[in-house]
């Protein structure tokens, strides 16, 4: 395995382009990202520090930092970075790499469960169906939750990309295999 930087470029490169990910090396630690980060006001997230740690290959420290998940992907730092570092996309790819190794909280994995079961991160229930009717709408929108054969296509995608295994999804229970502990391992 190479350095974290190399992994970021390799993993993010196919979807964003390698040059896009390579901007991580351009970070000069000016701190403008941290200065405008709305999360940093309320949380331990220090965007500047995160990129320093990534440059210095502090893989385990980054993957284990809870604040890695306190970025809302608001793209403020992305627009303001004077060196053109593609900040938010680098953060998302670091999270992808962390998640692949099981660093994914149970509540986050539950979002995956809802999508696997219904095709929706926020599914509909009977109360909302009544509200829809009172507004003159069909009680259920014509989405994957209504049509089984359509939902199966989405489930098929999750199987192909092995997202089901990533969150430890049990197809018999249609739920997580276990919910104890914060992280998968």
């Amino acid at each position: 395995m190479g350095t974290l930087y190399e992994e970021i470029v390799a993993y993010g490169g196919e979807v964003f382009g390698e040059e896009h990910m390579e901007t991580l090396l351009q970070c000069v630690q000016c701190g403008k990202c941290t200065g405008g980060c709305p999360s940093g006001r309320n949380t331990a997230l220090r965007t500047r520090k995160l990129f320093r740690m990534a440059q210095e290959d502090m893989r385990e420290e980054i993957f284990n930092a809870p604040e890695l998940w306190f970025c809302t992907t608001c793209f403020t730092c992305y627009e303001r970075c004077p060196k053109g570092v593609k900040t938010t996309d680098v953060i998302r790819i670091i999270r992808n790499l962390a998640a692949k190794e099981g660093h994914m909280s149970v509540p986050h994995r539950m979002i995956g469960v809802y999508v696997l079961k219904t095709g929706h991160a926020v599914p509909i229930g009977p109360d909302q169906m009544k509200i829809r009717e009172s507004l003159g709408l069909d009680s259920q929108p014509p989405t994957t939750q209504k049509y089984k054969e359509q939902l199966e296509q989405v489930q098929d995608i999750f199987r192909t990309t092995q997202f089901d295994a990533m969150i430890d999804f049990d197809w018999d229970k249609m739920d997580l295999r276990g919910k104890e502990g914060g992280e998968k391992k």
Binding site: P38, I111, H120
Partner: protein, 296 residues
Amino acid sequence: MSEETKEYAYFLGCITPNRYPGIEATTKKIFKGFGIETKEMVGASCCPAPGVFGSFDMYTWLPVAARNLAIAEEMGLEIYVTCNGCYGSLQEADHLLKEHPKVKERVNEVLSKFGREYKGTTKVNHSIVILHDVIGLDRLKERITKPLKDINVAVHYGCHFLKPREVRGHGSSETPYILEDLVKVTGAKEVDYKDKLMCCGAGGGNRTADTPQSLEWMRQKIVNAIEAGADCMVHPCAFCHLQLDRGQAELEKGYGVFFNFPILFATQLIGLAMGLSIKEMGLDIQTTTMPEKLAK
């Protein structure tokens, strides 16, 4: 602007149809009044949420988004959305798939298993851009029957409508104008407030990762708007709506303060000025209530 009928595929996503269907009903109704027909996207799923699914696994996020795009392509229509999450996801996916042929190939291989293909022939539009540019401010103005006089409105953009600029294409993310123009059309006054462009705190899995902390961003936002004299907040995003509206109930539960600061989706503010009722727009069944002065 042409008066002829135009058809769009409405990508509903999750929160609009399943939590705030009033946004769906209002948007369809207003669009119809201007000759814009809405077609349903049969079999659409979660967009899927860009910050959160993009954070878990780009290579799962992308084919699910591409499948949704393919449904609109099969219909031969452009898409409109009422959520920045859906906009963020579908527009970004469309952009990336067009820019990077290798990943497009990989995605189409996944979709081919059930006979679908992403071709790159649709376009993802935000409903507020349709209001602003397709219907246009002049035509909107003609239909304002109940101008919102003496109403101060705080504008909240959310994040993924404006940023990243290279994907969104709505000009500056620091001095936007679309929502401000739409507020002006209703006769209300747009008021500036501290940290107007700040995120609602919900995205990227943050709301799920740490709900109380995420609600704190929202609390700051609402307090800033109230201090600037705003009577309500208007925004273009169903997910922000959930955070800003239902979040106020969660704040009450956790901290015992209930601001009851009214939250409206952009088409709902315009609907008020066009004389639509609170009830038909679903504004009577959310957490925050509309004051006399807005609901008359």
